[in-house]
Symmetry: C2
Subunit: 297 residues, 2 copies
Amino acid sequence: MNEPVDLVSGFVRLRVDFGYDGTDFNGWAKQPGLRTVEGSILDALKLVFDHDENSFGLVVAGRTDAGVHARNSVLHLDLTPAQIKRLGRYSSPSMFEGAIRDRLNNILDDDIRVCSVTVAPEGFDARFAAIHRRYRYRIADAVSVKDPVEARHTLWTRKPLDLLEMQAAALELYGLNDFAAFCKPRPFATTIRNLRQVTVRRRTDENQVIEVELLADAFCHNMVRSIVGALIAVGEGRADRQVIASKLASGSREGSFKVVSPRGLTLMEIGYPEPALMAQQVENAKALRSIDDEVED
Amino acid sequence: MNEPVDLVSGFVRLRVDFGYDGTDFNGWAKQPGLRTVEGSILDALKLVFDHDENSFGLVVAGRTDAGVHARNSVLHLDLTPAQIKRLGRYSSPSMFEGAIRDRLNNILDDDIRVCSVTVAPEGFDARFAAIHRRYRYRIADAVSVKDPVEARHTLWTRKPLDLLEMQAAALELYGLNDFAAFCKPRPFATTIRNLRQVTVRRRTDENQVIEVELLADAFCHNMVRSIVGALIAVGEGRADRQVIASKLASGSREGSFKVVSPRGLTLMEIGYPEPALMAQQVENAKALRSIDDEVED
């Protein structure tokens, strides 16, 4: 990464880390006439780089549904030499990267923010190089303070939740499983995922809010919100860990638990391997998941 | 508190604890045609208790400016026997209190929430019985993550802030002082306040946000935002603790530091004495502060 712009191969791939408050967006994907995260980012890129470009080859790690938030999502895009030229000259890669970040943030509204822009390492792919995604679901139950300042990213429920029962039920979902019973299916797409962490805890600071965190290689559509719906049923005493285990084994969405509101859901982090392992990870992920398997939660 | 309704004296005083996200309110005080916190609470009270009543003798502990938030503010109101009768009969005071809380919350939007309703102890006055107010100001500087999910209640600044210098300067403001240099003055109102705590810390959890917390017997208008503006100047190296000490001693707003945005400011807590000391505290506070001295931040 000695040169910010690789003029030999003719393009440079940027990695963009960004977050958003999803409340006032109609989800990630660009839609005509609607305010979406992708649409807002593309509009900002057009002002910075190229007024005629409409896609920039934008690829994102997590395509969230309407109302879902992100603390740190990741996308990549490829710039042509002409687009880079519009930026002017910079004396170092970090100044080049910082200038793009600042220009984008100057254009974007406060409910979407670019954390960093970096020239991506060889073989980087925001979606297929990802080795894990971490989501958090926040719930204020009868014990928590219902803090209006946190209302936009916290589900409010009336009953108290039994966290020990929820954590026990969550253990039934651990590991490599077919999550068909907890996913909105898509044709030709696998629903097998490796759920590597599920923790249920009550924060001990001021508002005593419950946080359910899930970490997996990837998530299928509605998977986090389906699992959290099932765990809330357990926490309220309407189901137990055996019911969750049977549901998972059934592979069927028939009579499923509620898919809870997007309000409490935040994409927290995308994990990537060391640069040397990047290309292999991309190969593996492409073999596992079809190109139609696009919406992840 | 054996009986929820004191029908002998003819009225019951309620203490209401509540919070709000101030972003979409035009401050506390009722104003015709504008959405305000007081206006929203009065509208909800009218639906629950009395369609013809317009004030309910509402008295609040902290009248916040437009855009300022509250995690836990406190108000009191007095209900007549006729108003109480509209509620129906309850078998215990706590059911009576819980029913009022739930009915108000069913009417109020999610950016304002009643935490609790209780029959107030003898001599309680939300404003004059208060022995302290605690405010928090959140700042995301160059080191913090600018998290859009927290954007509505966090000020974003570009430069890194020196927290040690800020804390040292804050010490100059400690104790019983005339804060005229840090207040928007009001005629016939004292600007002497007892600032009992000022802490400047960076949170060690995910977003590394700076929190400035101030605790005083009461605050005068714009006092927290003026002090935070001065501390930010210190944190950025534009002033030092000697400048802050001189400014305080000058008693003048001439050439003052910026009054920072309401966005980062939250009223966290109102402190009250034990019930036995309530009446004495009300006497003391009324003697200290004139009735014109109404806006506290």
